[in-house]
């Protein structure tokens, strides 16, 4: 059952459930697609998280109650989702970049080779983007790779740093402070400011695969 709540005076939160899952993700994707298609007057912007969608609206054009009524009717919309895009991202796990590999090896009791194998094996689901421009939250990391955040977060994580924390893995899209355990780095821009038209590598609903590259390949791709 969907739950609708006022979120401040100009937004509304729709909650689809309590636990993040592929099924719930799909339900949200269908909802977003229907919302996009319906073009409800007064809806300004909407963006999804793991189990919820935030909708910013103009209450000069549509009241909260009216908006909820319109949203409830979206279920009747027939929409099709495109097949998800698979984005392959090269990662160099070389010691020059895998700053916390020994810590991760210790916590997971796995050898580096196995860590890399488990990290590159899945096709991850992009649940949502957030934190910094272009940063994506992935679902589907192997449980064996779970480890704690760093006790003291780094003041500066480099753009492209690939990290693990808890059940999550991801790539820092801009240089920023961060507490994830760094196991590698990608030469690819996750958020490319110079590309005005399409600065984001990944969008919600995409699938992501990591593949291993050598330091030499990293250097070649960085140019």
């Amino acid at each position: 059952m969907k739950k609708y709540q006022p979120y401040g005076d100009a937004a509304l939160l729709v909650t689809f459930g309590n636990e993040a899952s592929e099924a719930l993700h799909l339900e949200i994707q269908f909802f977003l697609k229907a919302l996009e298609k319906k073009k409800i007057a007064g809806v300004l912007e909407f963006f999804a998280a793991y189990v919820s969608v935030t909708i910013q609206y103009d209450f000069f054009k549509v009241s909260y109650d009216e908006l909820v009524r319109r949203l409830e009717q979206l279920e009747k919309e027939q929409v099709l989702l495109e097949a998800p895009r698979i984005v392959r991202i090269p990662v160099c796990y070389d010691t020059r970049f895998s700053l916390d590999m020994s810590e991760v090896m210790q916590q997971t009791t796995l050898a580096k080779k196995e860590i890399v194998r488990l990290h590159t094996a899945p096709t991850y689901l992009v649940h949502m983007l957030g934190f910094t421009p272009g940063f994506f939250y992935l679902g589907g990391m192997n449980e064996k790779l779970q480890c704690n955040r760093r006790k003291s977060p780094r003041l500066r994580m480099e753009e492209g740093a690939v990290g693990i924390a808890g059940t999550q893995t991801g790539v820092y899209s801009v240089a920023s402070p961060g507490g994830w355990q760094v196991i590698g780095k990608t030469p690819v821009s996750i958020f490319d400011k110079k590309n005005q038209k399409a600065p984001f590598l990944v969008k919600p609903g995409d699938r992501v695969q990591f593949y291993e590259i050598s330091f030499e390949e990293y250097k070649n791709l960085s140019i």
């Binding site: 401040g8 005076d9 912007e45 963006f47 189990v51 919820s52 949502m128 983007l129 801009v174 984001f200």
Partner: protein, 313 residues
Amino acid sequence: MIEVLQGGLQTLIQDVGRAGYRHFGVPISGAMDCDALRIGNWLVGNPSHTAVIEMTMTGASLKFETHTFIAVTGAHMNACLNGKPIQRNETVAVERGAILTFGKLEEGFRTYLSVAGGFQIGAFLNSMSTYLYASIGGVNGKSLQKGDKIPIVENREVALRKLPDGFLKGKVSSLLKVRVLPGIEYNLFTEASRNLFFQREFQIHADSNRMGYRLSGPLLKNSCRDEMLSSGIVGGTIQVPENGNPIILLADSQTTGGYPRIANVASVDIPYLAQQKPGDKIRFQKISLQEAQALCFDKEKKFGSLLDGYLPR
């Protein structure tokens, strides 16, 4: 052209923000005090969403290499043109070669400078707003610095305007009443914490910025699970991390957050909050959704009628 002679503490080009990219994790940004932005743009005959310069706590020194018209709105920082004081909230003619400076901060926290015709700089994702964290917008994504040059429209003539007396609320108080609506996780906070939230004063912490205002006051407790799933954030959301000290998320806040949300600041009060500075105190007052929206309707009526029906939202 405007040449920056001195940048000031944090001097940023801001417009009404970069809406429409939050699903890609890009914050809205934009002027913290959007009322000051709108009034400033009205005074120099610009569309209300035009980019302006936002100066926080201290002002910049700027040299105008062309004749134009400007307006200073927001905080009182003793603006002077060629050493002579100029009034806030009215159109001011600027001669070629004139130098605009700011002095001591007297009242408020953020001063805005609007220029007839706006700035001739590129936009990123449809906005000129500077977002420092990802170095986007404005001039090279940075705070304005000595030597920066901002192209402007040359020799634009505009009508002289003045904001009617009494249009704005009186002096900015150092104890501001901030009206809020109960937040998404309001009911997960203990009854004692909910009461404290509305009864006690909170002080704005020094470690506050355009992303958010950290508050100190009574610690707020809730019965949330250890870790909440990240959820969307809108401007004015008040979240409470484990340490119990609330944070009011503002223009540059991340688009998602994982802490329980006790309340949301009513839209009409955000510009006033943006003029509060670290050390100032605030007190929260609970209002309903209907009341919050009614306040906005009233405000737009006031903006619309007093300013000749200008300033469309």
